[in-house]
Structure formats: C-alpha cells, structure tokens
Symmetry: C2
C-alpha cells in the first residue's frame, strides 16, 4: 500500500503586463493571485515601473521586440490555459502582443482577459493615448473578456465614437452593450467608481426581468439571522459590476467597502478571472469567483506602505501542517510525529525492559507481569477498534476495524497459550488485577475515541501498533551487529522478538503507517487539528513507556 498524492492540476496561465516594484499591482499581483489560486504563473513584462503605495515614480518600457521574445519563449514551451493582459504601455507593444498571439494560436487563442489599463489609481498614464486604437482593433477581437472600469470604459466609448459619462448603473447597461460590439466575447464593466443602491437594482430588475442578478456578500432570502446591523445596505452603497455577453446580462452586486488597501484591485480581478477561465468556468461563475476573491483581498488586507496599500492575496490559502509524501519521504506524518517527541519515543523503544528482554536476562516475574497486563490491555484495545468501527462511515472502514478486532482476539488466544507455557492458567489470567498503568493507557484510548473523530482515535491506536513494530525491528537490527548485546539463541523471550519483528506483525505495521499517512493527505489537518494529533500521539508514547516501567517495577 503506497501513499499517492493526487494533486489538483495546476493550469498554466500567463500575464502580459507591467512590473510593480512594490508588489501590489502588475505582474507581481498577478503572480501572487495565480499562486494563491493554485495556478502556475508565467509572465511577459511590458514595462518596469519604480512604484510604491504612494504612486509611480518612474517607468522604463521594454523594447517591443523584447516583449515579443519573452512571449515567444513561453508560447514555444508551455501550454497555456488562459492569458491576461494588463498595462501594455504603448501602441507598438500592444501591436506586438496581438500579432504574436495571433501568429501562434490562429483563431484558437486560450481564454484571454484584457484589462484595458490606461491610467494608474494614482493618476499616472499607463497606456499612451494613441495605443487605444491598437488595443481596440487588434487585441479586443482576440479577447474572451475585457474588464474596463468607469474611466477606461469612458475612454473606450469615446474612442468608439460614443462619448458617454457613466454616472449610474443605468448608464452602465447600454455602455457594456456598446463595448461588446468592439469585438470581444464578453465585457465586464466594473462599477467600483460608481455609487449605486438597491433601489436601482430593483428598478432595473423590474424593467428588465431577463437580467440575472448575483448578490455576493449581500444577504439572500431567509438570512435574517445573519443581519448584523439595522442599516439598510441599499443606503450604505453598493458596487455593481455588469457582465455583458452576446445573449445575456448579469449584474454582480456587492456591498461597497471603505478601504485604502486597493492598490492593484484591477490586476487582481483580471488575474483571478484568468485562473477561473483556465479551469473551464463560464463567464458568470468566473466573475463571481474573481469578484469574491478580490473583495476578500481588500477586506482582509493589513496596511502596507504609506499610501494605497496592496490587497491581501493570500487570504485564500492555509499553510500545511504536514508535508506531502514524496518518494524520498513517503511517511512525512509519522516522521513528524516521532520527531516531535524524539526523546520519549526513544525512551519507549529502547526501554530497559526491552534491553533486558533482548539480552535474555529479564526477570521471569517481570515478563509474566507484563504478559498478564498486556492481556488485560488488549481488551481495551479490541474495544477501541470496535469503537472505531462504530465511528466509521464506509463499509470498508468498518471491515478494516473489524479485521483488527479479530486479529487482537487471535493474539489474545496466543497470549493464553503463551501464558500456559509459563505456567499461568486462564483463571489466574482472568483474576489478575489491572495495574493503574494498564487502566490509564486503555482508558485514555477509549476516552480519545469518545472525544474525537475517527482520525484522532486512529492516532491514539498508532503508538502501540507502530511502537511494538519498532521494538521488534530495533532488536533484530541490533542482533545482526557483530558481537551484539542482543542474544537470540537460547533467549527465553526469542519468540516474542520473532513475533514482533516477523512478517505478519510488520505487515500490520505497514498497513497502519499507510492508513495514517493517507489520512493526512486526504484530509490535511489545520495546525490546531495537527496539534491534537500530535499531543494524542505523544501521550500514548508516554503511556507505552509507563507500561514498560510498570512491568519492570511490578507496579
């Protein structure tokens, strides 16, 4: 049984945009978004900027032929699932981008999101005025989606001979339709700079029942319990984005958020759109996902810099607590567990009891005491697996747990035979009072099973299974050394060593290892949950050591 990691695929996406040294916008925002959404990012840089949260201090455009060379290097080698463009700086760069994409892909350009960046938030010109014509005539026809904001849309409309001021949602609807006629497949007209309220949405819905409205971040029907303030959100102000496709219009309604962490909002949105399109989402779902991602990026941002700070791009991810298995480290969870309490683990495996047993000098009464308590412990252990079966949700996990109960029952009957060989009758076994160390360990496992889920119970059961396997292999390994302190021949406990180092038991160990490793891969624990696993494991390792202590000291 090997642990295989089924990673979700990482579609490759490309950004063609400027570089923002401060990391909040441009290809930096794009690459961060791609990474946080699980995509593989590539980038063609059109211009370098010296920039920070207070503004753009300088621009160094890249020669168009070098833009082409960067793009060609990527196209020649990497299969792209989506592309976005941001700041293209001038007409010749815009032209070379369109031309190179057309030459490579013909009519089959991957989903292309064009963010028609013209002016920075801080007012810096990011696209030469004469480049607008090139953008519209050459790049828009290749685009799946263009994502203008208010001022970009006004510029584009003016260029298309329909100068319009966008002051309301009502203005946005015909504008989005007009922009669609420029040749792209869809238009996402962003309303971030246009205040709107719910009454406008309602009157649009009434007049145009065919318009679909997506409320993200607003309360839907029967969410009265989630209302946190008496304030009507329609009064507070909404942000409405209009998605215009050939045969449908969709409004995306979100509450307006007051924040100064908005540097790179447009870049982030178009990148998130590219990620969603790369995964095959349709325009509506892609827009929903991208607006939610961007909105959360603004709302969860902490201030960076003295001006308009960047969004938080990593709100969508959690750092793993347990590394993934690899060919060279196939058991990362078990390794982390053992390393987390290395000294206690060693004190358990290399216990004085084990050493004396390996040397064959362990006092007979200590071994008998151990064997009798182990017998009593196995009753808890079998019950714990029965509890695990009861906590299972599939027939296969019920079967696995039940299989272990049967193995334990077999082990118990071996125990009886074993004890008989040492002169202990079954009645004597049954009459043996339980040591506190036995009760502590057995009851702790059952308590863990009552308290937690099956993963936590499996953790509690692992220290015994794996530890005895380790003791067996350690003694066997030591025995193989020249002039070893471990004595196998003539050792009264040889059978015990053979049993735990033998094939049957080691097969169970391998299965146990695979079980816990698969568990951590399938359902990666948060740091809090991993902490619970770790403390359960460590506690059991200590209880195992206590069991040897008890056996040596006859407590």
């Amino acid at each position: 049984m090997t642990v295989t990691v089924k990673e979700p695929s990482q579609p490759s996406v490309l950004t063609i945009a400027g570089s923002d040294s401060s990391g909040g916008a441009g290809i930096q925002a794009d690459l961060k978004t791609f990474t946080a959404l699980g995509c593989y990012g590539t980038s063609v840089i059109t211009a370098l900027t010296a920039q920070n949260t207070t503004g753009v201090q300088g621009i160094h455009p890249c020669p168009p032929e070098f833009v082409k060379q960067q793009l060609q290097s990527i196209l020649d080698d990497i299969e792209l699932k989506a592309i976005k463009t941001g700041m293209l700086h001038d007409a010749s760069i815009t032209h070379v981008v369109a031309e190179t994409l057309k030459a490579h892909y013909g009519a089959a350009v991957p989903p292309l999101v064009v963010d028609p960046v013209c002016v920075s938030t801080s007012g810096h010109t990011l696209l030469q005025p004469e480049a607008v014509a090139t953008l519209v005539s050459e790049l828009f026809p290749l685009a799946a989606l263009i994502t203008p904001n208010k001022s970009e849309a006004e510029l584009l409309l003016s260029h298309c001979g329909s100068p319009t001021k966008l002051e309301s949602v009502q203005d946005m609807l015909p504008a989005a339709k007009k922009l669609l006629s420029s040749g792209c497949k869809a238009v996402l007209l962003k309303g971030g700079h246009i205040t709107a309220n719910m009454n406008e949405v309602k009157s649009i819905s009434a007049a145009h029942p065919e318009i679909h409205v997506v409320h993200e971040g607003l309360l839907g029907e029967n969410m009265e319990i989630l209302q946190v303030s008496e304030e009507d959100p329609s009064v507070k102000g909404l942000v409405i984005d209009v998605l215009q496709q050939a045969d449908s219009t969709t409004l995306f309604v979100q509450p307006h958020v007051e924040s100064s962490s908005t540097h790179g909002t447009g870049c982030t949105l178009s990148s998130a759109l590219a990620c969603a399109l790369a995964r095959g989402k349709d325009f509506v779902e892609a827009t929903r996902m991208a607006t939610v991602y961007t909105h959360l990026g603004i709302e969860t941002a902490t201030p960076i810099g003295r001006g308009h700070g960047p969004l938080n791009h990593i709100h969508s991810i959690v750092i793993r607590s347990v590394p993934q298995p690899t060919p060279s480290v196939p058991h990362p969870l078990t390794r982390v567990l053992i390393e987390s309490c290395r000294e206690t683990w060693k004190a358990y495996v290399q216990h004085e009891f084990v050493k004396q047993l390996g040397q064959g000098i362990l006092a007979r009464e200590c071994f008998l005491h151990f064997i009798k308590q182990d017998y009593l412990y196995l009753r808890y252990y079998a019950r714990a697996y029965a509890l695990l079966a009861a906590k299972s949700s599939t027939f296969s996990s019920i079967q696995a747990a039940t299989g272990t109960i049967i193995n334990v029952l077999n082990e118990v009957s071996m125990h009886r035979d074993y004890c008989a060989q040492w002169g202990i009758t079954e009645d004597e076994l049954k009459a043996t009072p339980e040591s506190p160390a036995t009760t502590a360990y057995g009851a702790f496992i059952l308590d863990t099973g009552l308290q937690g889920d099956s993963a936590r119970l499996i953790m509690a059961l692992a220290a015994c299974l794996l530890g005895y396997g380790e003791v067996g292999l350690w003694l066997k390994k030591e025995a193989a050394q020249p002039n070893s302190w471990v004595k196998l021949e003539g050792n009264p406990y040889q059978k015990w060593i053979d049993d735990y180092s033998g094939e049957v038991y080691q097969k169970a160990v391998k299965l146990g290892l695979a079980t816990i490793e698969v568990m951590a891969v399938a359902d990666p624990p948060s740091s809090v949950r991993f902490q619970e696993w770790q403390s359960t494991w460590e506690r059991c390792v200590r209880l195992e050591k206590g069991f040897w202590d008890m056996s040596l000291g006859l407590l």
Copy 2:
C-alpha cells in the same frame, strides 16, 4: 461576541534579481516562494530574460539608474524584514544595489541573502565576469548569508586567490571557511553538484565532533519501521550543504533526488531562506526550513515545458474551503452552509406549517402534535449537549454545553406549562408515542456525536438553533409589512412567534453563529472535512423540514 481573524503577520521581503518569463526562476520563483510561505513580496528587476525550460533566449538588462529607482521606491515606503539578491547581471547594477542599500540602512541592513548567481543551469552567463569583484567587495560585507553552489564557489575562491576544485564534502569544509572570510556573516555552500555518501559524513563527524549534522529526509534513530527499501541510502548518494558561521559548522544531509524539475532551485532556496530570516529564525533553522521547502518543491513537481521544468512552489499550501470572516461578511461559514442547500433551507423556514402558524389558521391538533413531538425531541437535544460536554476538552466548553442543557430543561418546563394551557397533561405528554420523524432527527444528532468530533456535533445541532431563529425573524419581518399575511394580534400561536423572534432566543442564535464561525477560523477545515460539515448541516435541515411535514400530516 464577534469573530476576529488573527492572521499571522506577513513580513515584507524583497528580491533583487532578474525576471524569468517562464516563471520558474528569478523574481517569479521568488515571489511564488514568498507567497507560499506567507510573506509579502516586493521586487527590483535587474534584467529581463526571454527564457523557458529549455534555456535563456535573450537578456535585456535594466539601466543601473532604473534599478536604483525601483529599489529607492521600495525602501522609501515599505519596512523590509529580509532581502535576497539573485542575478545582478553586471558590475554597475551590483554596485548600485550595494550603494543604495548602504545609503538607506547604514550598518543596519535587514538580513540579506546573496545568491551569487553567475551562470544559469542551462549555461547562460548571468553575471559579467568583471562584476565578481564588485559582488565580493561591496555586497558580501552587507550579507547575512551567501549561498554559492559548486561552480559559483569555485569562481569566488579563484577570485579570492585560492583557486580550488570542489569534488567532495571534504573539499567543501575549508572552502566554506575561506568564503566566510570574504566578509559575510555566514556561508551556505550548496553541494547539489557534488556526490557524497554517508561514510564521508561519518568520517567527518569522527574527525570533527564539533560539526553539527542535520539529517533532513534521512531516517533518524528508531525509525526502522519507516525504512522502505533495503538499499543503503549512503550508496544511493546524498546531497550535503555546508553552513559555515563564524563559530560553527553545520552539515545538512539529504537524499539525492533524480529529477528534471530543477529550474530555479537556487532562487527558491535563497527566497525561502529570506522568508525564514524575516521571521527571526536563526541560520540553522532557516537553512533547515529552506532546504526542506526546496527539496519538496523538486519532489512534488509535475513536468511543465520541454526542458528542465520548474519546482512546485505551492506544495506548502492548501486552498481554504471556507472564506475568512470580514466586516462585510462576518458569517461566511453559515452563509456557505445556507447557500449550499438554499432550496431545502427555504422549504424548512417557509414551510406550510410555519405559514399557517403565522396566519393563525393552523389546526389546533397539528400544533398540539408538533408541541408534543418537540417535547420528545428536546430529550434527544439535551442529551446531545450532554454528549458535547463529554466531548469537550476545556472547562469553558463543558460550561457552555452545560448551560445549553439547562436552557433546554427550562424550555421543557415551559413546554409543560404551555401544553397545560392547551389542555395536555404531563402524563399525556409522557405517554405520547415518538413519531419516526422525531426519532430520525434525534437519533441522527446523537449518531453524529458518536461518529465525529465536537465540531461535527455542533454542526448537527446548528440547524435547529439557527432555523427556529430564522423562522421567528422571518415571521416577524413579514408581519411588519403593510397588509401582511402574518397575523400577530389574536393569533393563538402569537406567543410561539414572540418567543422565537424574541431577544432571549435571538441571543442564543447569535452565540451559536459565533461558535461555528470561530470554529472555522480557529481550525480551518480541509475540503473533505468541510464536506462532512456541509452534509451534516444539510441532513439536519431536511430532518427539520421532515419534522414540520410530520406535524402537518400528523404522522
């Protein structure tokens, strides 16, 4: 009770390096690493490359004064916790970087990792030969750590007048010491291109007991059970990195991995080092974390491109299943749960039973049937909170669960009074046979509590608490409409509506909401675990609807 998100801080880090269009190396690899390790990335681009996995097709260096301008924009605005440099291209860029850092920080440069990139994996010169002197004399003295590989170390040693061929770990030790004398605080001499075996490590350890050895990815003591092959790893080949500090030497030993996904290994390692130093880790711990991150990046990579593919930078992260709470969406988990079964939720809240109750036309016997079954249900409900108390791990959670039991017991006595008003005696209540819908719902909650952890049980209990709260608020909201269909005055069930829409019950709803939202923030569920929560929630919503069905149909 508000849900607050305690985000781990995102230290700001800076990379000063080249751009790799294909995204595997350069500032792209650096930004991906920063993001995947939870840091905020900024970047100064020294040169653009047109590059892919097969090689470097072109280089366009940035004018030194523009490198300075980018750097200055960042330094003026953002507080950096660590800096790394990669490809610096030529002497004038190297000089301007050193000069600008010195001018800004004086003697207090943040931890600076200098990756002395000279030649690409594919053999392309990335640092002009005459720049080596500038690198050594101007930048190394500012560095916390330099990270040369074999060929870079040989070049640097030759420059320092000690030409040396590095063929073995034995050669690396004096070389690392020699490099340290160049003025940096520490040297990480990377052994990726030097084959080594465990015998060499052992003989070094024997001769130099003061040298600390960190085995990452190799089995430690008492890990026999994790041995997957009989093969001795010392035969297979190891990679050994040497960390030389002023007063100590540390060897980092890892198994050698055969892989073609190595494009950007050096960039990734130095970026990961910068992240760890930014969080205040010491050199040994930072090196351990960075080598593990990089090693896993190689081992978990899937092929991209036709040549030496990039590392997988996102092995360290998991995509969140539940968004974080924000001021505009303070209850993201509950919202996702409700939206995940919107129709069923509506069928429960706006049930015909509820509507007739709101109108005051509900048949008396239906209400009495409901009230009697609800009484029986509350016994399960109280037991479920008792089970939750038993599954708790803190006194405060035991107290919270117990508080709810007491509330339920009070509700039960109200129920009795209520029933008495309707002419039902306590004996009649006790003698009422339990409906299958009541048993199904009650037993499902207890079964969930047996099967899962306390989070899952809380999920099972939420639909009842929140749903009745929603029913109360919905009826109250509808009643407030002009000419409402809901009738409060003279409604025989007015008290019921008042109770569930009233302050006391709604306070409990708010507390319940906060509890589940806090749970998702503190212990973010994996997608598998979230799926369990969702299906538990949905099941309970259906069972609630079934309870109204039963009450209407008198089943």
